[in-house]
Symmetry: D2
Subunit: 403 residues, 4 copies
């Protein structure tokens, strides 16, 4: 008596069941196993020590929710064939397959890395290996499949990606306020003229979902300590690259080095790049940071030691672009304290971060009323939606400057 | 080795510890034990079968949060003497002591019952019994004590009453979206010029608290099935009173009868009223409904059987006052189906319900910035606060009318 | 688009889905709605204030687990037809339908009430009303259906009744140690030669389940304060009956009076009894207690006031039958304090309570090994099973006796 | 208004508050920050993908419980001075400071590493840096302080280490059955003649704690897949060392190389060893595995690729030592499949694992009765304690051998 499903343990949902077949084979593939070594929240564990969960676990969770959503829709009479269900499941499973280590950090540092291009490369490569079994999944992923709601379940205002990550990030950070009623929202999903809609009585859950998302952005994803650590990491990578290109020899894991220390303007072969990229994970960056914390260059080792021992830079949020006089003052103090070795560009950062809880310009969340009419949510809710773009400006610099 | 505290089990917080002394003595008093028999959410268990928790448990929970809030404030250097702490704790413990059975139902039916007057009567009576030990609690409760923040912890925009009930109601209904970050909010509380304020980094938690409150109102407190049941109960009580005053003999628990079947305009003695009122709880109303479900009067037994077997009336929400033609149509169908015995005033109800998530006209939530400035939250948050009064109109009538 | 299922809110499992049809019709029946007014844990809320959950909610939860168990077994290739699934679901839904108010209390007081006879009466009556649709459910319930594992899911060592009540009682009391891995156990269930077995890797979960059950017995079901309250209730009912039979007039809800105050030896008609019994719930007993707390008889009003105001008797556990000298001493103190009015038989109780975590004499839990062999768990586990009958003796009497 | 405490987010307890001063300074020290990069459960995330939590988080959690235990004991009148409280807190915070990467793996591979010696070295070194402020903590840790119960809270049958790890491991694995009533147990702690005891009514919680511990051992800590991965890692390290000592050049992070590739018999200087050891964490081993997965040696790359892509060996549990004929058969298949390059000693492992839920030979859990007497738990509980040493034998080898 062999079960038709393999069961994964998940403290968020209890268990995630995966049917034997293509879905389980994808999970067993080294490309997917790599996601075990890439954290969902990058450096946020500096703020939330429990936030060590990986993209591997997130993808499994999103798959779980996709299965629930499909079951709910079928019970309401929506026609979804077994192949379509499998396609949607494979698409959600692979939606993050192209993510690199501490994702945004590396993407920001390396011109050669285009996240979307990589995802495409991974999927096509897997489709080849699996003899075309991923065709449907790829069409759903690219929004080229007629039943648009399947794509919307993978990538849309209420997709299973967001449902899982809000839920999961809330669980592992311990920020209970990020908890969303994912099960309630999923039970309220329906399909109207081929598109995903939400039943009327789900309006309050959607409002709650949007505010939870907003809260998670500012409280977790854009937490000042996490942003500070990310900026430090980006500048450590840039400094290492500068040194390497100028001839300084630095220890670095091989596949990371391929990306980081390559000549500018070189135009790599896609297959070669994929071969290297598929070997990269968080571990390579951490290893590099550990090596470089003992480097001779003051700026590089200062940044890397800071990341290692959690001596992170101070980040100030401002409601307007930071005044130049304030920035100049900080610059002077840095030079005063550490001398010319301290490269200001890598030790003092300014910039901004933005978030919009509900972006109504791309695609609206639609509400289905009992009488069969459908309206965008901002015409249904009796409170304003969170459509504003909220922008905060920052300056970030080492602590202990005696400003 | 006797512990200085008594421990109450609470699935919401794990345990609630109560120091031996006046607080435990209050809990042991029959007036307070009566709250064991009064549900926090009245008839909402028709919608949320787990929502059977009582005002007794809620008061204990609010006491628990008060103790945490006081500890947090003291750690931040706010001066709160042992007497003041005890006073605030006693005040929150007794804040609901005057509640009657299925509270609002009875209040709406009986002219003689003034909720606030009753609370005052209870507190004064207890103060007498406890030889004046409740003086300070009463002053805090009435906002007559100089340290205003103590009153605000008992009754204000962010009081421990709300913190507990949102949390507790969310727990027992299973509406996970009502979960608030009560512990995070409490940790962010501070005192500025004698008033309660929230530290800057608590802003998102406050936004989340307000939206959770809004959601709980429409999803739980004003759920159409719960509202329908409450209207039916109110009209059952009114019908019973009509019949009684017109000479029909109806079985009724004695103390309930004292209130329900007394002559209009009679002016009862306060002490006598308290003696009867302190014997009333949910059980008396349920007992009456069970008796009357077998009454001869069609309207009364129809309402009571409906409440007993959960054959509740349909309630339609409208965005504007319900059109008279629609109401008239329902009236005709009722008469057509049940004849003249069916008293329309008690079988068809119209009206409205309103809610405002954040009422900024009474008292503002104030945010304390790191530089020491304090501003009302609507000048700090970069999203609009939920200050609108949202009103919904309803018509409510028996099912099966073939409209 | 109407969903094929109705959804019930449940804080324990999130949601319970019930397909429209016979199962939902059973739930809507007044017999089943009556269970909304019967608490699962009787008087335990005196100890655990959150333990107010009802047999209604428990039956829904057990139904939910039955659906999960059936799905798991089907995925492992066990043949269960739609009719058999519905039968097993109906059987678990109705397994507690014959329970009376504060169940054991009343059963112990009234000779006329046989719990099993009542369950049979209810089921047969419902089967008539539903035109024989419950035949299969009744056969499964009575263990007269060939696929024995279906009965074992309803009533056996690992039935869905126990799974739900341990889980649910643990949730609402807040005794987190009673939590069982119900989902893990259900996923480990299998069928071997028509009987329910547990896969090898579920052994530790079963051990844990048994110890959790043991813990819940002594910490919740047989908690000394709860036992004390139950004894007081039983004796209040007995005293009321004595008074009534001796001609004293006592107020009592009608249907309760039919049972409580009837002549001994009278042999009631089954249909008549069912008519009265189906109107009884916890509320009738509480109403009676409230009436009698104002009775003239000292013993009766003493017991009822105690129950009302939670002035419960002290209960001492002893490891051997309580010594007569100790009991005699208590007797004398009672008489000394309250005089002859205090009827000793109703104010001082002795007796014993027993529990066996795992009763291997009736039916064994069987473990299925990978090689296909099956063994009783006590031959598989490398620790001893909890098969001992543990008995504790008690004496119970009013507090404040100055012993 | 600066809070006197720093707050850490913890999904297990909500928040952990740490007073500013020596405790916070210890946490900020690089030695302690290193624990952020050492997982509590090593390779168990291969089985439980959520089990990525670190010794850093565990130490904070244990500190939290220590603070609660101290508060409980003080409320019961136990005298604990502020210095003693701080000492016990520092001791629990540092109890795991000497742990290496994937702890047991490395300890088993490297003769030079003595776990206990390292802990001592770390503590003494920190005591020097903190000018002797850790004297009391070290005495408590070493059980050299007169108030023995303080040591027992750090290291004993019911210490805060176990309380936290059972709880935390259960949380992050999702094995809900490992949940213990840590708050209930802590509330039941007391001190009798200087030793830690448990109040009588805590007996069932202790039983539950022991069985939860047993369950966690076999279900998590000794899960066959986790054990298999650990054996593979140990043999990869051994093989790398063999190769290195025989002159093969292998990439390796510097500090790891210092331990791994040093000559046998060399006797390192303690300070030098500490300098290297304090730079080691999980990351170094993972980096090495990634390097070696591309090594030329078949055995080494086979093991490392397996660990990287989760192609783990099969592990069979046996109740007796595995028969030689079975082992011999596997050996032959391996050679048949991979030829002589496959070094059997590193691809086929036999051995045993043992666990005893309650080891009564070292120190007994003692129960305090209301009459003041104290007895070991095995004389109080009416069920047998889990004192047996349970041993299981295993054989472990690559999958796909067609046995």
């Amino acid at each position: 008596m062999i079960a038709h499903k393999k069961i994964f343990n998940d403290p968020v949902y209890g268990f995630v069941s995966v049917p034997r077949g293509i879905l389980l084979d994808l999970i067993d593939h080294p490309f997917f196993q790599r996601l075990r070594r890439i954290r969902q929240l990058g450096l946020s564990s500096f703020v939330y020590p429990g936030a060590l969960h990986t993209r591997f676990h997130h993808a499994l969770g999103a798959l779980h929710l996709m299965q629930e959503a499909i079951e709910t829709l079928r019970q309401k009479g929506v026609d979804i064939s077994p192949d379509e269900a499998e396609g949607a499941c494979a698409a959600i499973l692979l939606h993050d397959i192209g993510h690199g280590p501490f994702s945004h950090a590396l993407e920001h540092s390396l011109a050669a890395l285009h996240h979307e291009e990589l995802s495409q490369l991974f999927m096509e490569r897997l489709n080849l290996e699996f003899h075309g079994q991923l065709e449907l999944a790829i069409r759903i992923f690219r929004d080229e499949y007629p039943k648009k709601f399947l794509h919307q379940l993978v990538s849309g205002q209420l997709d299973m990606d967001r449902m899982d990550y809000l839920n999961r990030d809330s669980f592992f950070t311990g920020v209970s306020e990020g908890v969303i009623g994912y099960d309630r929202i999923i039970k309220m999903l329906a399909v109207h003229e081929g598109e995903l809609v939400v039943e009327e009585k789900g309006i309050y859950s959607i409002e709650k979902f949007l505010i939870a998302r907003r809260l998670m952005y500012w409280q977790v994803y854009l937490h000042k300590t996490g942003v500070s650590a990310e900026k430090m990491l980006i500048h450590a990578l840039r400094r290492a690259r500068e040194l390497s290109l100028s001839g300084v020899s630095l220890e670095v894991p091989r596949h990371l080095g391929w990306f980081l220390f390559r000549e500018p303007d070189s135009n790599p072969d896609a297959a070669e790049m994929l071969a290297h990229f598929s070997k990269l994970d968080d571990n390579d960056l951490t290893a590099a940071i550990k090596y470089w914390s003992e480097a001779e260059d003051f700026t590089l080792s200062f940044l890397c030691k800071g990341l290692l021992d959690r001596r992170l830079f101070r980040l100030e949020w401002h409601t307007a672009p930071v005044e130049e006089s304030h920035v100049q003052n900080i610059r002077e103090r840095i030079t005063q304290k550490w001398g010319k070795e301290a490269i200001l560009d890598h030790l003092l950062y300014t910039g901004s971060e933005s978030n919009r809880a509900y972006n109504d310009t791309r695609e609206q969340i639609k509400i289905l009323f009992k009488d069969g009419t459908v309206k965008p949510i901002d015409q249904c809710s009796d409170v304003p939606m969170y459509t504003q773009l909220v922008t905060k400006y920052f300056v970030c610099y080492p602590k202990g400057l005696d400003l």
